[in-house]
Amino acid sequence: MTPPTPASPSPCTFWLGLGAQISSGFSRLSPPCCVFFAGSDIDTRKINNSFLRDHNYATEADIISTVEFNSTGELLATGDKGGRVVVFQREQESKNQPHRRGEYNVYSTFQSHEPEFDYLKSLEIEEKINKIRWLPQQNAAYFLLSTNDKTVKLWKISERDKRPEGYNLKDEDGRIRDPTTITALRVPVLRPMDLMVEATPRRVFSNAHTYHINSISVNSDYETYMSTDDLRINLWHLEITNRSFNIVDIKPANMEELTEVITAAEFHPNQCNTFVYSSSKGSIRLCDMRAAALCDNHSKFFEEPEDPSNRSFFSEIISSISDVKFSHSGRYLMTRDYLTVKVWDLNMESKPLETYQVHDYLRSKLCSLYENDCIFDKFECVWNGTDSVLMTGSYNNFFRMFDRNTKRDVTLEASRENSKPRAILKPRKVCVGGKRRKDEISVDSLDFSKKILHTAWHPSENIIAVAATNNLYIFQDKVN
């Protein structure tokens, strides 16, 4: 059996529905009702809390707001609007059960953020998890950063599968033994226990942001990270919570003059002094922290000149960049605005290297999308492990993949009906013109409430995680 080739599959390779459709966070694993795994018994071994609910209805707190693989791809974390983080772990492939090829099971669930109230402004601070970023693994425990609008937290997720038994001074229940009853000494031994996964908050980085945090990015030095809000970027040390450095500040002295906000930021994957941030006006600035303490002056400025023929009142809104991602190599930059995905070469600032249309059929619908606020949706974009395929989400639970080499693209749908276990995803097509073919869907039938904003790609394999409202879909490349 040939191993799955990691190098540049055509995006038209049919993707196998791994069947891991999971209601965010709360799913009864046995018997499967919200969850179904490909023809196997559900292993509840790793679930340590009884905090499982049967969700057949979508509550707003279950809406997934971020998805992220860790650096090895072994773990997949999702954050939702209710402030919870659910971590999935990939099953180890075992020889006696080859068909269970690395499925993801719930590993840990914890409440990361709670709703807060800002008494000074009389405003609620939402507990919605905006971003999760994993730290590289340095010991047996896993660390991740999760953030809501105002506070970043560092969580440690560790396993405990042994416990000490045989204490002298206290018995197994923890009660102190009466010293007069102790007649002999014994050495406590570690005995195996049921695996328990516990998450503990190790650091809380708070009170550094006036505006809403939209991004966090871990630096390649693995010591610092930055948090970005609408107008400022702060640099933190992972060990120090009471101090952060402001490295970018675009707040004008007079708020009346505010016309541009920061929408996303990321550190360079290899160069620990370089980072980029994108703006609502469609520009990307690359900054070098060696140049100055305050990186208000950019080193590079990436912006594509506006196409005058396409100009409309919505031009600026649709040019607002919702996500920016470095390629794994660090040579390219990918940005997502409302209608397109663009790949930039870091050495060329004048225009993007490649532009891919995600859903250009919406260009004529901008007014309606402005009216229902969909035009402000912030879609994310991801690279695959080899930087050859791009993926981003769209409406109607569609997501799109673009192969940079073959220039082919595919539209797939993440839906319950289409994702029976082991089912192969069928490419979808949206028809713009009058004549609609059998399997096509017309633009007017698109469901704009079903949007895929968050997706993630395994760092080395062709496994993708797609968040559709409150459901998480995990798909894998078809392997013979």
Binding site: L123, S312, F314, E316, S368, Y370
Partner: protein
């Protein structure tokens, strides 16, 4: 059904062309029939629907109103727009010398450009409503607000170039002053989110160099009016702090001063009816309004100035953005607020309330006296 305040391009009326968001929303709620209030604009008839012929009281022009869905063309970069049937197309019929003839040639020629300007206008109104509508408990999204504000600014700039803006502003200042350089959309950005409680003197600064009368679009708006000289004094950077802190005092006095002249024709009933509602709304909204309560020194919405002995207290707690958990509540709240122009709306969005909106010219003098009086108090304290 109350008509939009409308301004006649030939200067036969003093009402504004653009309905204020408050009026828009109120009209939205009341609008269930096919007939609409009219907008006085030079639009070609669509040919759809029966239209009543409404005689403008002050001019020889007759206005025909259609109530239908606007269709946004590619000019605006979009296709099918606004499913809300709230945008009306008005047709101005020029009376010929005979009196009742419709001039088809003039209408046909203006069809394309007028439909664009109608659509642009509706986009402007929609944007203003979006800025107004927000979740009370959670801070609104700054990125979204900035983008909408930029869109509004863009439309206004274009309207300025077109001269359409000029028409509106000229009506109020008699064409003697140039329209403000700083467009009104900037005001919305002064809205909340300022944890450091920077006092922002939002609106009047934007209108440096032009009389505040230019900005007001509705006579019925009762708000603080500040003359140019006063604005020079009060709106300077240095005076920001003291201005803001004491503004509720100042506004209160000004409200009383302009109260008598506040109510324009046709709006008396509305205000009277809604006073009770307004008080209740204010009480409720005082708890949850993020914008006004954000400021330590008790910002408030000047536009909500209500008559009566409790106006000072109401000023402190009033807010047009009262508890808008859903559209209905919002519309009710807006309806209960005094009428105001769209620019006043934006003014009111700012957390720091310098004197935002403008009363009619006749109010300025009395307000100026009040202002002087209050400045004495401020400086004296």
């Amino acid at each position: 059904m109350k008509p939009w305040p409308a301004v006649c391009p030939s200067n036969c009326s003093v009402r504004p062309l653009a309905p204020s968001p408050a009026q828009l929303a109120a009209w939205l709620q009341s609008q269930h029939t096919e007939l609409s209030t009219f907008t006085h604009c030079n639009l070609a008839p669509s040919g759809r629907g029966a239209a009543p012929l409404i005689q403008h009281p002050a001019s020889k022009h007759a206005y025909v109103a259609h109530h239908q869905r606007t269709e946004v063309t590619r000019v605006l970069g979009c296709h099918s727009c606004c499913r809300i049937d709230m945008f009306s197309k008005g047709t101005k019929r020029k009376f010929s010398d005979d009196g009742d003839e419709i001039s088809d040639e003039s209408l046909a020629g203006a069809q394309v450009s007028s439909s664009y300007s109608l659509q642009r206008q509706s986009l402007l109104d929609m944007s203003l409503i979006k800025l107004q509508l927000c979740h009370m408990l959670v801070e609104p999204n700054l990125c979204r607000s900035v983008l909408i504000a930029n869109t509004v600014r863009q439309i206004q700039e274009e309207m300025t170039h077109d001269g359409t803006w000029q028409v509106v502003t000229e009506t109020f200042c008699g064409g003697s002053q140039s329209p403000s350089e700083r467009l009104v959309a900037t005001e919305v950005l002064c809205r909340s989110r300022e944890q450091d409680a920077e006092p922002k003197l939002f609106s009047v600064l934007s209108y440096e160099g032009c009389r505040e009368e230019e900005v007001v679009t509705d006579e019925t708006l009762c708000s603080v009016s500040v003359s140019d000289t006063a604005s020079d004094v009060c709106l300077s950077e240095s005076a920001r702090h003291c201005w803001e802190r004491d503004e509720f005092v100042e506004v209160d006095r000004d409200d009383e001063a302009c109260e008598s002249s506040r109510l324009g024709p046709g709006d008396d009933d509305d205000d009277d009816d809604n006073d009770d509602d307004e008080v209740d709304e204010e009480e409720e909204s005082s708890r949850v309004d993020p914008k006004t309560m954000g400021q330590v020194f008790g910002t408030f919405e000047i536009k909500n100035s209500a008559p009566g002995p409790d106006s000072a207290l109401e000023e402190l707690f009033s807010d047009v953005d009262a508890s808008y958990y859903d559209l209905d509540t919002m519309l009710t709240g807006i309806q209960s607020a005094p009428k105001m122009g769209p620019y006043d709306l934006l003014d009111s969005l700012a957390p720091s309330h310098g004197p935002p909106s403008i009363g009619s010219p006749s109010n300025c003098r009395s307000d100026l006296n009040e202002l002087d009086h209050i400045m004495e108090i401020i400086v004296g304290s």
